[in-house]
């Protein structure tokens, strides 16, 4: 299928598609490196107090007993976040991104917000919230998304829209870090436009104007029209077929805006699979009918005894696709917004508190200039397909520190070095 080959050339498929196992493995690895680093950094920095790292305005405030416990905390093992906790935490900030987009006048387009969310998710595959707090990353990711999605906003205008007094400098500072975490691939393939295409074609079928699919030349517009009128009735009664399509369209769109963004769907499935799964959730008979027009034969009937059906090259594809769509719609269906669930909110508060103690004090210092110094190394790392941004920045921080100490040692206490020699020896 030529469309599939076109999709295979995208960076989303090449760099940002994972199996469930590899996704889990990658997150565990990132978490392990980050927590190791956070522990050593906290131990190494005697003066670095958790209170110095100002907690985010959006996060639930930790208790005031942080100050008193800090001495014995260093003695015992520092309790770091688990990969699952990190994931929940990032998801919370994904939801915050949606809300943040809403605060602008006019609200940022869905596409921009979705791109920002995907940037966040991709960024936190190889970086941990313990190193870079999502609070600062989130705003910058959204700003980056306005640029990559052609929705122009000036930085000042953008910074003003953020609640609290965030300066433009603060918004832009982690930009390079994010780009690096994204491996400089800004293209996100969303399912939204695909949904529009599907709806467009369904409307054409409903009006009897649809041409036959390329592999099924014996379809005729009249036949398709008859079929669409005779499919099983929807869960909610509709006045006409057009109304039914419009309603399914709306429901699907909502699912794509929320569930598809907050789950790992983008990593695990292709955009067309995502929108079709969401469409299956919205109006199952209609979606199945639509797939049948494309792939021939009833989609659900996997154990076909028909000889001609078995020889059909589309048959195998149909069977596989059904499995994938079922998995994907199950994933989308499993999503519930964090803010609507008090239990999850309570868990989130606990995570935020935990993060307050295990936040890497050195991660805060990663400003634009230091990030840029890593660019070359990071570019090389992306080339080899290995993402090592966590270990990389750690290594560089260590190196910088060592160099500084060396300098102090050789030059005595004066940081600017010894006195210059005043007189030149004469001949």
């Amino acid at each position: 299928m030529i469309e599939d080959d076109i999709y295979r050339t995208s960076s989303q498929f090449r760099l940002w598609s994972y199996t469930e196992a590899s996704l889990k493995e990658l997150r565990a690895k990132t978490n392990a490196i980050a927590s190791e680093r956070a522990r050593t950094a906290i131990r190494r920095a005697p003066s670095a107090q958790p209170s110095a790292t100002s907690s985010a305005a959006g996060t639930p405030q930790p208790g005031s007993d942080g100050e008193t416990k800090k001495t014995e905390e260093k003695a015992k093992e520092i309790d770091c976040l688990t990969p699952e906790e990190e994931l929940v935490f990032v998801r919370y900030y994904c939801e915050k991104t949606l809300e943040l987009g809403e605060t602008y006048k006019p609200p940022l387009p869905t596409m921009v917000r979705a791109t920002a969310i995907q940037y966040l998710r991709r960024f936190y595959l190889t970086n941990s919230p313990m190193t870079h707090h999502p609070k600062s990353i989130m705003a910058c990711a959204l700003f980056l998304a306005t640029k990559t999605d052609n929705y122009y906003m000036s930085l000042r205008q953008f910074a003003e829209g953020i609640p609290g007094n965030t300066t433009a400098e603060e918004v832009i500072s982690p930009e390079f870090l994010i780009m690096q975490g994204l491996r400089f691939t800004f293209d996100v393939r969303h399912p939204f436009r695909g949904l529009e295409g599907g709806i467009m074609e369904l409307s054409a079928i409903a009006q009897g104007q649809a041409p036959p699919a390329p592999h099924l030349p014996n379809q005729s517009p009249q036949q398709l029209l008859q079929q669409i009128q005779s499919i099983a009735p929807p869960p909610v009664a509709c006045s006409s077929i057009a109304d039914r399509i419009a309603r399914a369209h709306g429901t699907t769109r909502e699912t794509l805006k929320s569930a598809a963004q907050m789950t790992d769907a983008y990593f695990l499935y292709t955009p067309s699979q995502i929108w079709l799964s969401a469409f299956l959730l919205a109006d199952r008979p209609l979606a199945e009918f639509y797939l049948d027009t494309k792939l021939g034969g009833p989609l659900t009937q996997t154990t076909s005894t028909d000889q001609s059906d078995l020889q059909n090259p589309l048959y195998e594809l149909r069977v596989k696709l059904l499995n994938v769509l079922t998995e994907c719609s199950a994933l989308l269906n499993s999503y519930t917004p964090l803010s609507s669930d008090p239990d999850q909110m309570k868990g989130l508060k606990r995570i935020a508190k935990k993060l307050f103690y295990c936040q890497n004090p050195e991660g805060k210092g990663t400003k634009r200039d230091s990030a840029q110094s890593q660019a070359v190394a990071a570019a090389a790392a992306t080339d080899s397909g290995q993402v090592t941004s966590e270990s990389e920045s750690e290594r560089l921080a260590k190196k910088r520190k060592l160099e500084l100490e060396q300098k102090l040692k050789t030059n005595g206490s004066d940081i600017f070095g010894p006195e210059l020699a005043t007189g030149r020896p004469k001949e």
Partner: protein, 365 residues
């Protein structure tokens, strides 16, 4: 001289077998033969018998019909040799394959042997009909290659001729030049000697030795200058010659086709006809597998855009939107990430021998 005398002597009592007139009576008598039967007769007999059109051979027992225009002078005294040479010439004219047309030396040798065999057959009158038929068949089938090879042969012969004449011309020029040089030299020596004598006659006796030495020096200088001049001319000529040779060697012709009679001919490699240029290398730009793109789709809000002249004026075509949305609706529908990515990762595990070094260099460890 002796042989010539011999020949003359023998010719003395030569007699025309037809009119019985002898050379003794008619010293200007010429004998002619016709390659049909090779019977010898004198010129006057030929005129007498065949002037009024074809007629039978007057020799007793021979009934061949002869024509006057075929009569010619005899080259060899032996009629058998004359006939063989004729046959050989004819056969060689038809079977005129060249060595470079054969796959191997062996094949060419086989061809030569075959040709000799046919000639021998014709000469000794064995299987004449069969051999003639073969020759005819071959000639009609390979008209083209025969003609090409003839042309080649002629060309070679003429170029050889040209080269020979050119060489002769060059040799003549060289000789002439050498003669002229010698003449010049002689004249100069003469002149300088006269000059010296004049000066000696005019000058005092004390200068005599100096003047003589000087004159000798001048002579030497002149001769060395002349020699270098000659060298230059010779080099120029050599360069000219080599250039001409190169020009002559340039024309070569392509080989012939195989034929039934001759085995082991080199196959002519006709270059494959060039395929029409395909800029997309097999990719059909408008072809899609999941959907057929229509020129318009029913949509209430898109209809507004379609009818808006402001949109059209900017060059925006709604079809662009249609093709993009439809493509995105199905792009990747058949990509099963679970399978393909794990396969890709497995492939990457095997591969990174080359990239490992790069990764290590990047890591700096």
């Amino acid at each position: 001289m002796a042989s010539k005398d011999d020949l003359d002597h023998r010719d003395e009592d030569e007699v025309c077998p037809v009119c019985k007139s002898s050379r003794y009576l008619n010293p200007n008598m010429r004998f002619l033969i016709n390659p049909e039967c090779y019977h010898k007769m004198c010129e006057s007999c030929v005129d007498r018998i065949f002037s009024s059109g074809p007629s039978n051979c007057p020799v007793a027992g021979c009934r061949k019909t002869l024509r006057k225009n075929k009569f010619r002078a005899q080259t060899f005294e032996d009629i058998g040799v004359e006939r063989e040479v004729d046959i050989r010439r004819r056969v060689m004219h038809i079977l005129n394959r060249r060595e470079e047309e054969f796959d191997s030396k062996r094949a060419y040798d086989d061809f030569l042997e075959q040709r000799e065999e046919m000639i021998a057959n014709l000469v000794s009158r064995i299987d004449v009909a069969k051999t003639e038929a073969q020759l005819q068949k071959y000639a009609s089938e390979n008209m083209q290659s025969i003609r090409t090879n003839q042309a080649l042969e002629e060309q070679e012969a003429s170029s050889f001729q040209a080269r020979m004449t050119q060489e002769q011309e060059e040799a003549r020029l060289r000789r002439q030049l050498a003669r002229e040089q010698l003449e010049n030299e002689r004249r100069e020596i003469q002149a300088s000697r006269e000059d010296m004598l004049n000066r000696l006659a005019a000058g005092s006796s004390a200068d005599a030795a100096a003047i003589a030495r000087e004159g000798h020096k001048v002579l030497l200088k002149k001769s060395s200058a002349r020699r270098s001049e000659e060298d230059r001319i010779r080099q120029k000529q050599a360069a000219l010659r080599s250039e001409m040779k190169r020009g002559a060697g340039a024309g070569e012709l392509a080989g012939p086709s195989d034929s039934g009679l001759i085995k082991g001919l080199r196959k002519i490699k006709t270059p494959e006809p060039e395929k029409p240029y395909d800029p997309f290398m097999g990719y059909v730009p408008e072809k899609r597998d999941y959907y057929t793109l229509q020129s318009s789709y029913p949509s209430t809000y898109l209809d507004r855009i379609r009818n808006d002249t402001r949109m059209a004026a900017g060059g925006y075509d709604l079809k662009e939107y249609y093709s993009r949305t439809m493509l995105e609706a199905f792009a990747g529908l058949g990509c099963f990430i679970g399978e393909e990515v794990s396969r890709r990762d497995a492939g990457a595990e095997v591969k990174p021998a080359a990239t490992a070094g790069a990764a290590m260099a990047a890591g700096g460890e």
